[in-house]
């Protein structure tokens, strides 16, 4: 009798605690259908996985309350009109922090909404204007290729004696911008650019025609600017089969499984940038995330290694800024410069902070470490870990 009463009272208090637990809503707005679906879906899956892990531990502590983290994900179909409407919807629900969108076209349309609604978003688009004053409500969610490019080229110039460099991009806004920035970086380093402005159409299935003209110029390094994970193995395979012996690299994250499936050993030596994808540098927390992600989605995706950072850094910055920042992004912005923690995902490497001052003259970028990987025997191996200021 007594036991039942105790149990009842206990349940009552648990019930009250659950009912009273405040909710922190974080938005994800990105492309989740159509050909580019993987970009937005990986954002969504990563955020949902982190949120589920946190909620299983009782929530996220900000001030003296523990918040239940709720992810609200909306598909923008890569259409600027829908992306802007989604952003409006999220801010109308009281969401102040939004992960995404994924390309310049949508990020450009969402920016004015963020400024009017006094909210912050974390696009994965590289257009510099989004992050440079007078704009300040967008924070770049990853390393831009124009930041990774110089670091990789410098390494290859010094360690592998690269002199002649060629670029190839998919004919879409983001890869083209990345190629332009990459070419500028190569010029700064005094490398000789042997072809300029080479592109291929989305939907290209046979890359031999595209590669033929470029390889004829004998580059030492072929940079696949902003290459989609599905195109990379095909380009690598075609280039190798056409007798290309030089180096291949890209500045975007790649998928080891499809590299192995399609290109196999021909992809050995391919250099790309990852988040925290190689086991040698993963912390136990990252390993847990990989496990939880795989369980949730069915299959690990290396892209998630770079996309795990956004939610984690939002939550940790809110923790530092205090509960008032949940509804006041100005407090969040002020905290950006103070934020400096050990990287929870990558072992013993530069601390995690907000960077980008050198590029945007204000810290408007997640300081995701630049993990430069080399593909070998079906897996990525870390060459070195760089960072951006």
């Amino acid at each position: 009798m007594k036991a039942t009463a105790v149990l009842g009272v206990g349940l009552f208090f648990i019930g009250v605690a659950l009912a009273q637990q405040p909710v922190l809503k974080i938005g994800v707005n990105g492309v989740m259908s159509g050909p580019a679906a993987s970009w937005g879906l990986v954002n969504k899956y990563s955020a949902e996985t982190t949120a589920a892990m946190i909620n299983a531990e009782g929530g996220w502590k900000i001030g003296d309350k523990k918040y239940k983290v709720e992810i609200v994900a909306l598909d923008d179909k890569n259409d600027p009109k829908i992306s802007a409407a989604n952003a409006e919807k999220l801010v109308s629900m009281g969401v102040k922090y939004i992960i995404g969108p994924n390309v310049d076209t949508t990020a450009g349309a969402v920016m004015p909404v963020m400024e009017k609604a006094k909210a912050i978003n974390f696009p994965y688009a590289f257009s510099k204007e989004l992050y440079t004053p007078p704009h300040g409500n967008s924070i770049l969610g990853m390393i831009a290729s124009y930041q990774a490019g110089p670091v990789i080229y410098k390494y290859l110039k010094e360690k592998k004696g690269v002199k002649n460099i060629a670029f190839l991009a998919r004919n879409e806004a983001d890869p083209l911008n990345q190629m332009k920035e990459g070419e500028d970086a190569a010029k700064m380093l005094g490398l000789n650019i042997v072809t300029s402005g080479a592109t291929y159409e989305p939907g290209t299935t046979d890359f031999a025609p595209v590669l033929q003209g470029i390889l004829a110029k004998n580059p030492d390094l072929l940079v696949l600017s902003g290459v989609a994970p599905g195109d990379a193995p095909l380009l690598i395979k075609s280039a190798r089969e056409m007798g290309y012996k030089g180096l291949l690299s890209t500045e975007t994250a790649q998928d080891a499984k499809i590299l192995q499936q399609v290109a196999g050993s021909l992809a050995d030596g391919f250099i790309s940038v990852g988040g925290a994808s190689t086991p040698s540098i993963q912390t136990p927390y990252m390993l847990d995330f990989v496990k939880a992600y795989t369980k949730r989605v069915g299959e690990w995706n290396d892209e998630a290694g770079t996309k795990v950072y956004a939610l984690e850094m939002i939550l940790r910055t809110l923790q530092l800024a205090g509960p008032a920042a949940i509804n006041d992004v100005e407090l969040f912005k002020k905290t950006l410069t103070k934020f400096n923690i050990p990287n929870p995902f990558v072992k013993g490497n530069p601390p995690l902070k907000f960077v980008g001052s050198a590029y945007f003259s204000q810290p408007r970028q997640l300081g995701v470490p630049m993990v430069v990987n080399e593909f070998k025997d079906g897996k990525f191996q870390t060459l070195f870990v760089g960072s951006v200021e």
Binding site: S33, S38, G197, P209, Q212, A216, N218, L234, E241, G243
Partner: protein, 297 residues
Amino acid sequence: MGLAPTYLGSVMSQIIVNGLMLSATYALIALGITLIFAIMNVMNFAHGQMYVLGGFMVYYTYGVWHWPFALSLLVAALVVAAVGLILERFFFRSVLRRSRREESTMLLAVGTALLLDSLALALFGEKQRGVPDVVSGVYHLAGAYIPARRLLIFAIAAVLTTAFIVFINYTRPGRALRAIAQDRETAALQGVDVTRYSALGFGLGAALSGLAGGLLISTDAINSGAGNLISIKAFIMIMIGGAGVVSGAIAGALVLAFSEAIGYYFIPGSLPYLLILTGLIVFLLFRPQGIMGRRWG
């Protein structure tokens, strides 16, 4: 570092090889869409989605379950043909009958494409997929590099195209299909079972698209959203060659493949496609029926 100088020796032969390799698989795509157009007068927006479905069938049967490649191609053809038959029976046939305007079938095709796109994403996921090479090795012919796997695809596609031409010209069902394509009413009067043969034509066209997808995933990667781009290429090809004509589909495939091969070599940039599209528009002004097409309305 650098490349073997022999590589530079034979730009032309490499361009020719590239163009031929491309055109063989393009032909399969174009033949499928042109057949459906000829029989049903439907501009099949969902053609690319059928291609994607074929690709995923081969991914699972050959790539994941390691069935023999020939068997998995057969499965791809049959599954996509079945989907084509279902679409024809339950979607297009009834709308064709009840609609006040014939354009409604096009709307339905667009809707079907969207439906198959979402279904593919739900069933196959968002990741890019590829399969290991069926054959490995690279041949070297007159200075041009020919990967063995591309040669295999080329051979299979060429055999399938030939078989299709023989079927359509020299068999009874083939002749019936041609009769329907020429004039539906007359064919019906002559005792051709138009309903049954229309279904056959639609299924066959779908199967060709599925085969193309199944063949191409063995050299390239595929994702569940790749369909629309393939459909647009298919449209370009049948416009060049002339819609509804078998020889036109092949001509369109050759022209597009060689335009890409030549264009990308000489102007590596986004200009080739702009030029191809502009060229197409100008060409159609002078020859609206395409290279091989009949004069159309």
